[in-house]
């Protein structure tokens, strides 16, 4: 009997691992009540313990910001992902997270979409500004009108996000309390 139970548990465990590794347990649609987080790596993105606008600037040639789906990854796994990216020798140090609720982020010109091809639990905040992909040139200023549109959307993200500095960045676990953005 015990052998049968052990075998059953192993099968169930293997099945769950397989489901997780193929990301089948996470819905593709990002729900409004989900929380998403974006890791902070540069002091250039923080001022007086607040996120600065340049933290919400998509890298060229994209219109998207990388985030992690907190409800599915959890704070510990999100932190582990962030710490993989950091490289203090090159000026990238993990500082903490900006957290959002998807429903607050999404306005007419912003959407949040799953992007599991990066890794399971990854998503992107998309700015619906065509110029970001079509007219932005490397190392050049955006045209004035599009620059203002981007600035307004970045200000919106600042207003609906909350910065959670990590009190113990060296630790594996997240010890900064609940990540509960407005």
């Amino acid at each position: 009997m015990a052998r049968l139970v052990r075998g059953l548990l192993r099968t169930v465990s293997a099945l769950l691992n397989q489901l997780y590794s193929s990301c089948l347990l996470i819905p593709i649609e990002v729900a409004d009540d989900e929380r998403i987080v974006r890791a902070v790596f540069s002091p250039m993105n923080i001022k007086n313990n607040q996120i600065k606008r340049n933290f919400y600037e998509p890298p060229i040639p994209t219109d998207e910001l990388s985030v992690m789906r907190l409800e599915y990854l959890g704070a510990k796994a999100s932190k582990a992902r962030a710490k993989k990216i950091q490289n203090p020798g090159k000026g990238r140090t993990y500082y903490g997270f900006a957290a959002f609720r998807v429903g607050k982020v999404c306005v007419d010109d912003i959407s949040v979409e799953d992007s599991r091809s990066q890794f399971c639990g990854h998503a992107d905040i998309h700015f619906k500004i065509a110029a970001l992909k079509q007219r932005r040139e490397k190392n050049e200023a955006l045209p004035a009108l599009e620059g203002k549109r981007l600035k307004d959307l970045q200000d919106h993200l600042i207003s609906c996000s909350k910065y959670y500095p990590d009190p113990n960045p060296a630790r594996t676990n997240w010890t900064g309390g609940p990540l509960s953005p407005p």
Binding site: R53, P59, I60, R92, N139, A141, A144, L145
Partner: protein, 147 residues
């Protein structure tokens, strides 16, 4: 992309702490693939800040993920935002009363001094209440908002 060149820019203006830090940024400084600021953007930003000493607070200076530099002023009467790229600049001034003013243009040694003086004059006038006798000649290109 090479970072800002302190030797080149130091000849144009005194050292600015924020720009010194920006000088030191390398590619991917934000962990998300940001470009290091170009030497041209840094050089133009330094010369702009060198001009911005007369009656205008020093703006907040920030690098962007695209290797450009943003300058920003906030006052009780509005905000001004200025992005300096490798060969182009753009921005807008948003007074709390009245329409937003958009501007953009090419960066060149010949045009830059005039353009920066004009932007500073408008910022000073709209955000810091200057009522100078000299009306700025707005030869920089202003864009009508079409939003």
């Amino acid at each position: 992309m090479p970072p800002c060149d302190p030797q080149r820019v130091s000849a144009q203006s005194a050292s600015d702490p924020a720009l010194d830090d920006i000088d030191a940024l390398k590619d991917n400084w934000d962990g998300y693939g940001a470009l290091a600021p170009t030497r041209e953007s840094c050089s133009y930003a330094r010369s702009f800040l060198a001009n911005a000493t007369d009656g205008i607070p020093i703006p907040e200076v920030n690098p962007t993920s695209n290797g450009t530099i943003n300058l920003e002023w906030k006052s009780d009467t509005g905000t001004a935002f200025f992005e300096i790229g490798k060969s182009r600049y753009s921005g807008h001034i948003e007074p709390s009363r009245g329409s937003t003013i958009f501007f953009e243009g090419q960066l060149s040694e010949a045009q830059w001094s005039l353009a920066s003086q004009q932007v500073l004059a408008i910022v000073k006038q709209l955000l810091y209440g200057a009522t100078g006798s000299r009306t700025p000649a707005y030869s920089i290109r202003f864009t009508e908002p079409t939003l």
